[in-house]
Symmetry: D2
């Protein structure tokens, strides 16, 4: 099928080999002028080499977009998600999922700015990321053309790709010639690894796969205690020092890394239908989840807390599946955000060899009432006799059922 003509396309460009090949392939296949977008989401790589490489590959300087999105990423995506205590399939902290909508949003915005009619990304046809990029982009710009080269091109093997690169004067680093033993995705929230050496879920993740955390067994023998300050559900300080969102998450990452916290070896269900096995390192996020639950535990009413718990699996699934910009995610977010109005206070944690343990929490808005729980009955309006009526009426329907059973057993 003949490709439709594309005038200008904004490519999510990492500066690496694969997206460089995509850059050339887009120009060649679609006759398109390529605009590159490289974002710093805290993946821990220099971005300037991406600029140099894009220039070398013929991109006009005005068409090279390099942006530091770390603060926006943490403030508008990561923290809102943590307000929900979101964990996909009970465990995964959604580190990759949450980055995609932001990249898609910037791709679309840049496309508008430079008058591009298409965007392109380097995600493969078997993963969730293609879905997340594209659903986000379509939700923001319904008529955008989206190009996913991995779904379109005919390269039958890694070798064919390398040949194409060499033919087009794209430098090929030595270690990229063969198959990588695993692939990674990284941002300020996490690093994920999957593929090849991880493909057998019966086999332990090799030690060299980990890059963001020290092995718990190698972590310090002495625990570290930190205090995280929260305001309206978001962390705002560590040990009393106020920090911006990205700075704070980076600091938590450092604590997590040093203490071997946040490793997760998981077999998960992809939206596209198959199971996959991944390894996640979310050092700061793992700490944040524990702390956020703790501050909620004293500031959130049971009704609100249980409602949030019931809605969480759906909310997490929406983010995992790429529906960040869907009305149902936004409606749930509104509810979650509103619940956080008084989720303010401090949580003290002990970090030790892979674990994060709550050792104290307090809040000016605490709903915990020592007088109510103390065994001695005090001035407080708790009458033990109330419990009797409470139980009796809760039991009424169960007793009615039991009577039916008895009656029918006799009959």
């Amino acid at each position: 099928m003949a490709k439709p003509k594309i005038k200008r396309v904004v490519l999510a460009y990492s500066g690496g080999l694969d997206t460089s090949i995509i850059l050339k392939w887009l120009a060649e296949t679609y006759g398109a002028e390529v605009v590159t977008f490289t974002a710093d989401l805290g993946q821990g790589e220099e971005l300037e080499p991406a600029r140099a490489k894009a220039e070398m590959l013929g991109i006009k300087p005005a068409h090279i977009f390099i942006e530091d999105l770390r603060e926006e990423f943490v403030r508008d995506f990561v923290f809102p998600m943590f307000r929900a205590n979101a964990q996909y399939e009970g465990l995964y902290l959604l580190g990759t999922s949450i980055a995609r909508p932001l990249i898609a949003k910037r791709l679309v915005e840049i496309a508008r700015q430079v008058g591009a009619d298409a965007i392109a990304h380097g995600s493969t046809g078997k993963g969730n990321d293609q879905v997340r990029f594209e659903l986000s982009a379509y939700a923001l710009e319904p008529d955008i053309k989206i190009i996913a080269p991995w779904r379109e091109w005919d390269f039958a093997s890694r070798t064919a790709l390398i040949e194409y690169a060499e033919k087009h004067q794209i430098p090929v680093p030595k270690d990229k010639r063969g198959e990588a033993p695993f692939s990674t995705d990284a941002n300020l929230l996490h690093t994920s690894s999957e593929g090849k050496v991880l493909e057998d879920p019966a086999e332990e993740t090799p030690g060299y796969v980990y890059s963001r955390t020290i092995d718990p067994e190698s972590a310090p023998d002495k625990a570290t205690v930190i205090e995280i300050g929260f305001e309206k559900g978001d962390p705002v300080s560590i040990n009393g020092e106020a920090m911006s969102p990205a700075t704070l998450l980076a600091a938590l990452n450092a604590y997590g890394r040093d203490n071997g916290i946040g490793r997760l070896d998981l077999v998960e269900n992809r939206f596209v239908g198959m199971k996959s096995r991944g390894m996640y390192e979310t050092p700061g996020g793992a700490i944040l989840l524990v702390a956020h639950r703790a501050i909620e535990s004293i500031t959130l009413d049971r009704g609100a807390a249980h409602l949030k718990d019931e809605l969480m699996p759906k909310y997490a699934e929406l983010i995992y599946n790429g529906f960040w910009f869907a009305p149902e995610r936004e409606l749930l977010q509104g509810l979650i955000d509103k619940s956080q109005d008084l989720v303010t206070g401090r949580v003290r944690l002990k970090l030790y060899k892979g674990g994060a343990y709550v050792v104290g929490r307090d809040s000016p808005h605490s709903l915990y009432d020592q007088d109510l729980v103390t065994f001695e009955e005090g001035a407080v309006a708790y009458d033990h006799n109330d419990a009797s009526g409470f139980i009796k009426l809760n039991a009424l329907r169960l007793r009615t059922l039991a009577k039916r059973k008895k009656r029918e057993a006799k009959g």
Copy 2:
């Protein structure tokens, strides 16, 4: 109000001071013949002293019931609950909650056997346990009379209680004269502690409160690897050795204890309406949860897995609130049990200083298909182009929304 006359009452009797006082108080207040029931749920105490004490307090030998319920407890209560990955408020493994229905069931059965018209328990009027005991008992025997002395009697202080004990020749151990610094509940699944020294949630749990687990910092410096075998969602073996339910849980407890696993310091919302702070030690249960999720991850379809995740908070809340014998818990249990038909296989875990990490899982029924996820497209029926259509139709409603927004922005 004059007490109604009770002929015979079955008391949940621990052999300790408090339930001994209750024993006498029941006899005196209601003129009732007291039948004692003491169960071994794995709380780690000798039961024969309870027999001796009951006899000493005047109970007829035929009216002293002492039973080892450990296997029934684990097989019919603990394991079914773990099939659901149940955690109340995201964290609590429900160790106390799950023991109450079984005790209530036996109280009712013994009441029928000995012709008693009432049962009695030693739970206070501020906690959840009274609710759990009584809802369970009413659900099984709708016209049973239930006596909760702590809600009825007039003892205004610990001193008054002690005086009553002494007046009735009940031996008072020295360490029971004053207020306990904290109270505990224990069974094969867990030990919980609450009260006094734990009442300020801003303060760290003192080290002496822990009784079931070694401090992670004191745990061995070398990790322990174990393999748990599952059949239909339940653990059946450790390191290839088949074990009965209670034996297996005890073995997991030993692993957990030695490696400092399963401590939880929590502020939770009681069913009776207030927040309370407790400390839980669930060494074997914490390991089991991780392992069960892992075996499910390769054997359960996404549809079934997500349905379970969505229902879990409600299921956990039902158990926490005491509705074990309610139809909705039983209906959910049926669904959960059915989902476990093929949840069979093995999980390998590394246990290390407070953490339990999955290092491998396999199953004869695995749904994980290496061919489907491998990056190279193989013989398998996964066509990259399918992803394009999948995304397009999932995006359709989002694009329609975006078009409305554009149209209206213009208007």
Copy 3:
């Protein structure tokens, strides 16, 4: 038990016999100064007689509060609830439930204004209304004293009550001497009837119980067509004529009454634990529900619509159980309200002998796109081939399951 001394109590006073007896009983029993509060919620009774009667019973004019709350009732309670399409147990439009929080709110506010330390209501000890009144009052004023005479006093029979009335010079209308054949509750949204002649659910509701609607069989033989205009989820006009909330609901009630719409004979589950049988007439509400669903059907995205449908049972249950002022109801309301931003447009309905049928709906914000559904493929971006990929990926996990089944059947 001796009654605590009450200084001043605000009574929800209807002017009828029962609340007049309560008035005297409160004064006598608690030595309290009674303040009466009578609200017009559209129950269709004159309020001035209540004033005269209160005065006659010795209440100071400054302590007689009579208020027309119809607009507030409909605007701030009824309409917000209808935004959710709330139906308890699939059918009941919550007409009684939704009135209680407003009355409780005014009782509390008046108590503050007049310096009362208590409020009192005339609900019995077996129903839901006592719960709704009291939960609402406690949520607004945690230390308020609430008196529910029906739970407290000793009148053993209707006769004893009448005697008390006569002894205290309370006029007893002839038809109130004996047991009423049924009791009713009415407001602008509905009339409910229950008790005595309705107590056998096997027996048809006698015709004389209905008071708000014509029997469908007696309704006009010709259908009536009306058009309801909506803005942000609320009805704002009928047949093009803008109306205030209460005026509009009254107008819908007239349409409903004339066409025999909104009768419901129901056995429902009370919060206090038993089943009860009631008969409801909600003429305008029944029409409104149909119309609201219709305007949502073209303006709400599927994601938002299905989320609302999933949350509705819980939302309805919260209102039924009296948790209007609970955080979880408020959080859900926020979500629901937000979803209604573009639920604006017009719905045409045919009303005929008990039924309300949608015959047309349109909206400036319609998401219905004729081009997308037409069988002929048009300029629109719907590619039939997309469906193939969509199905394939949705089927992937089902095929993986089927392969497992086949494999194991062979094995």
Copy 4:
């Protein structure tokens, strides 16, 4: 793209023009031997003409499958669904959705029987039915090849289709030459209509579209009363006469038709992403829903009933989307079926001009207890004072919240 060679294909064949064209097109395009399958699901058409036509089009007699599936359809698909009170988007009784899995199942079974490697259906590429057919087929036979000619062929217009028919000696009825003003799908549960004259949701459905029900305005002026007997959640008799499932549903359809019951004009959200407008006639189903809710109302405990209500939207969505054979639908079905164990009894209904009204229900397993609800307190164990404690403890958290608010307002 060259079509893969198909040896033998089983076609869902109605005998009409469109599936006859498909028959020829399959033979021509794929060189496939076509096997026809025509099912009687109660659509109200003779099936023998389909046989004659298939023979005329060259199908071998042994390859013409004509089956009466009405009993299986109602017993194994319709009734199980009604046990859940399933309504998609609050209103649609899923009449089309529920028929597809059965047809797909028989297509797959016949394919196995005749050694076919493919199945084919006549659903278009824009609707839900393609999804339902194909998901069901894949779930039963993971490697089946499915051909959906409407997604594949190149006919650009109705005219082109007719030309193809004439070229291949397929008789073209006069009324099929042009576009149909609307299309229909019918089975024993319902008739749906959509397309063309229904495409503007602002316009009333023309009278001639209705085929299964009398206009309520033309229905008898006198109400009809019927009694439906239920066993374990399924209807088993009418007016005391036991009937097979299909016979019973047909009888209910006749009652519904005569009284103008079960019309629904709806804009719904398709799984494939767009909104569509349809008109449904479900005469017997509409009656059955009312009756089933009524028998549940007296036999089902609140806990079970509310759990069912909460799960219903998801269950209905699964059926609508085609996931009948998915594990999550099967798990939910198990729960629903189990809940129906004692849903046995009788419901009396008044049918009148579009409405079905409950006028009585009774059951040997009724949980409705007249003694519990009667205003006079009887021998029954309901103590009004219990309500006080019940309310107090339910209010505790709300009061704690209110105290926080007060405290902070002051601060």
